[in-house]
Amino acid sequence: MSDDFDSRLHKELRALADAVPMSATIRAVAAAGRNDSDAVAAHRPLSGKSRVRSGLPAGLSLAGIALVAVLVVAAAMFGGARNGHSGSSPVPTGVPTPLPTTSPAELPAWPYTGLTTVQPKVVADFGVDELTSVVSGPGAAAYVLDSTAETVYRVDLQTGAVISVFSAGVQAPAAGGTMRATGKPRLLATGGGDVLILDESNALWRWHPAVGDTSGRGVLSEVNIEDHVTWGTNVRAIGTFLIDSQNQSYNIYVVAPSERQVIKYPPAADGSGFPSLGRAGYLSVSADLSSVDDLYVDGKFYLVDKGKVTRYVLGKPVTQWVPAQPPGSRTEKPFYTHLTADNAAQDQGTFYACDSANGRIVAFTKTAGAFVQQYMAPAGSHWFTSLTGMFVTAGTGGTDTLYWTESGNLMSAALKPAVAQTPSPAVVGPSVLTYMVLPNDSLALIASKFGLSEQELKLANPDLDLGHLAAGMKISIPVQGWTPTPGPLDPGLGG
């Protein structure tokens, strides 16, 4: 039946496509006296070898020139150009552009729980350029990877000023002490005050702001990792973990599907780089990493793979830790693609994950994965459905700010905490999760998993004899600030 449907869909779509009228309306431009029946004539103006600095393009008729003059104004209104550059060599303006807002009254009809509608704002508009990543970096700035321009831009989050910090094809100090050209940037990370840029040849570049500079001037040099060529061509993500805050030194993690490993490099003691001698596979068991979309390291290690967020401790997946299913009646299960947090410390703060399949940002606790809140853009807009990178800055009063890249824009939105509502009798009660005891669990082990004491577990389970745990037994795990959800969805971790 499915094949039948596919076949019919193909046939009908094909028929619809064939019905598209191909004859263009006669345009003023076409009728403006151009006598060029072939593309050779059309492109002759492009064949000059000199750089045209000013003046009007050769080969355009007077009517065309007049029309161009009018359309320059019109196109500027459309925001089609950025500082007069065409799309192939963009320089973003970084001028914040307000978005038309939509009334919360236009929220979709389906019922939600714990839903907040955010109001997205444009921080910087990069036009048609493809932005593939963004990280929060030194100088209270966002660092945006523009794949179209093959450039990494620094966007000042206070002023919106945009400056290039990395471009493909630029000569920069290489690890061997010579100079080499940078490649097309592929991935971004930050660590210890550095912005790390992985280029297409797996060279890892380090951009560090100049001492005392807050305007975006800095120094670019290659990070010395001798065996970076072994990572393969499809590195999915890179990350860091600060191990010495005084020296700002950090581990580097490389998700390398060709190696079926997350390769971990500790820094050399003398700061000379990341010697291959220290290289180690982080995962206890090698795995297919070809679909990994993101990673997060805060002492524990998290991978976003095939829509799921998995916690690892000492290289082993922690199967008991699972982000709770967001409440509500969305038909699609969450498919997470990006993960960030408002607190870099281990087990502290809130995770924010982008569920692009449902166009929402889901917040859950780091400690237990308990649902906190979900955020959507106003109805009718499509934000969060094709997000390519995100980070969160912690704000005052519990309001974090989300920054993300999507559809050629660096966007921001305030993530306000849930509005307190009068709970129904059904949801009054202690904030708990249900946990199913596994064969090798002990009370101490369960307590440590959730950052609790054994005494707290006993207090939460007064009716159970926790001195004699049995596999399959369900126990309550108290969670600060978590509100249980009524209905069929069980947010429990293993119950």
Partner: protein, 185 residues
């Protein structure tokens, strides 16, 4: 067959001027220009057809296709290993989706009324169902169903996760299924 230049839309002319002023010009040999003309002849029709299904307007689709070929002219000649149809699909769809986004952002700009007589005449139910989908979902559907792209390839074209594409296609098929199955005898 008209050349690229004879179909230049006003907005394209503006971009051509920008190219002339801002970009260091590259010598274009007659052979490569002829190849560009060939590419235009070979690919313009299907590109317009795909874009029309995505943006919902044949006129706009033709404009975007022209912009796409102007972008191609900027980069021409392509390296031998370049998959020209794929490049055109990627750039065309991104231009289309970004044009939609831009119009949405600048709410005061008048959006030209869509003339979809051709589509309504051909298959009104399917057209209405198609237009009820998100433009990116339409793009994903068109690329997979009409052109046989895999979900991974579409994810690459649209710059989203494969799961997102899978979700779009699944929902699109669910939306279109009643339309098509209703007409099964």
């Amino acid at each position: 067959m008209p050349s690229v230049a004879t179909l230049l839309a006003p907005q394209v002319l503006y971009e051509v001027q920008e190219v002339l002023v801002e970009v260091e010009l590259v010598a274009v040999t007659p052979a490569s220009v002829a190849s560009l003309d060939d590419a235009f002849r070979d690919h313009q029709q299907w590109l317009v057809q795909r874009l029309a299904l995505v943006v919902g307007d044949a006129e706009e689709a033709r404009d975007i296709a022209q912009q796409t070929f102007v972008r191609a002219a900027e980069k021409w000649p392509f390296p031998p290993e370049q998959d020209v149809p794929r490049w055109l699909a990627v750039v065309g769809l991104r231009l289309a989706l970004n044009e939609r986004r831009r119009r949405r952002l600048w709410g005061f700009l008048e959006v030209r009324e869509t003339d979809a007589t051709w589509a309504v005449d051909a298959n009104p139910d399917l057209w209405r169902a198609l237009m009820s989908l998100d433009p990116r979902a339409r793009a994903a559907l068109v690329l997979t169903v009409l052109d046989g792209y895999t979900q991974d390839e579409v994810a690459g074209v649209l710059g989203v996760a494969r799961g997102t594409v899978a979700s779009w296609i699944s929902r699109s098929r669910d939306r279109l299924r009643p339309i098509l199955e209703e007409r099964v005898p």
